[in-house]
Amino acid sequence: MLEPGAELTACIPRLRRYARALVGELNGAEDLVQDTVERGWSRIGEWRRDGEMRAWLFGIMHNLHVDQLRARRLQTTTLDDDTPHPAQAVNHAAGLELRDMQAALDLLPAEQREILLLVGLEGMTYDQVAGALGLPLGTVMSRLSRGREKLRTLMEGRAAPAATLQVVK
């Protein structure tokens, strides 16, 4: 068996990739990874019950991220400072010229964004996402569906979607 510490270390690049997409801002993303790694390492004895360390770590990151969002919401008196409110996302987008996917992602509600990323970027199965986030499968599917459709609407609201959507390797 790979040493747990080495296995956790091997997960760090994927945690960083996911956090970067989830948080959108470098320092916040790195802090989230650091907190996740520290908490994961301090509870390393628990992970083998499930066997899949990455899913377990993404679950930890999810909980920390939810806590952060909640704390941020409590600190501010209004919701619209730096937390895009789900209901406003589409209307916002109409008036904004979105420059890229990152900007569009930031406009998604966090609960949709994280599922879209765990599936589309991290390649987790729907069952794994449900397990990691502690949600029923049906909730995962409906959030995925709504998140993808909202992202499509946001992306298509841009100036030249066909040209910019081309994937250039």
Partner: protein
Amino acid sequence: MNALPVTEADLHAWVDGALPLARQAEIEAWLLARPEEAARLAAYRAQNLELHRLFDPVLDEAVPGAIAAAVAVPTPRRRWWEGPGGRCAAALAIALAGGLGGWTLRGASVMPEPVADLKGIRQAAADPAASLPRQAAIAHAVYSPEVKHPVEVGADQEQHLVAWLSKRLGAPVRPPRLGKLGYELIGGRLLPGESGPVAQFMYQDAAGQRLTLYVSTGQSHNRDTGFRFAQEGPVSVFYWIDGKFGYALSAAAGKGQLATLAIAVHEQLEQAP
């Protein structure tokens, strides 16, 4: 036609390449008659690609010291696949070698047909010398059934593919030409290996039979070998070690047929500067 009704969940599973081949074909037939739905799903697939294009570079960045230091990493004296945990390690290798595919393997409800073949590989004896062919066979079993995304970079961008993989492996790698033997290069991808990045080149013949060449550069601890053959579950593998390079050619083909191809690959690699 008594196909199952198509649900929104089916359509997302199609976007994510998580359907068994038969169901995938049914969905594609269904989409043919519904261009708007097809456009919607194409946009979702483009989202996945765009996410990878934007964020995959993060995987290559150096991990900040503060994060790495959060884990007290012991330096194991034994290599990870040795010891009593060999079978667990092999299961982990599936996850590592699989990358994206590794996740998919775990979800029993969306498990595609070819995955069953992996069980034969996983149960193979944990012999350190068998590590290279086993990892190559796992990578073959994971990626060769892929219909839509068998490779990360296609053969139409071969120059880019060669430059990219050579850079990541830290040594020049080049896919051999197997056209005379009926196999054309489809492209390649980068995979995590036991001691660093590994390249996989994929070929296909006119009948759709796929062949993969797995190239690892972390073999300095092993001595050079001649040709060796391994049967890993349904996958036949010819492999050899040359300096720091380890090569493994895999296909779900007979030993004789694969031997001809392996000899051709070996010859071309020998001649390369």
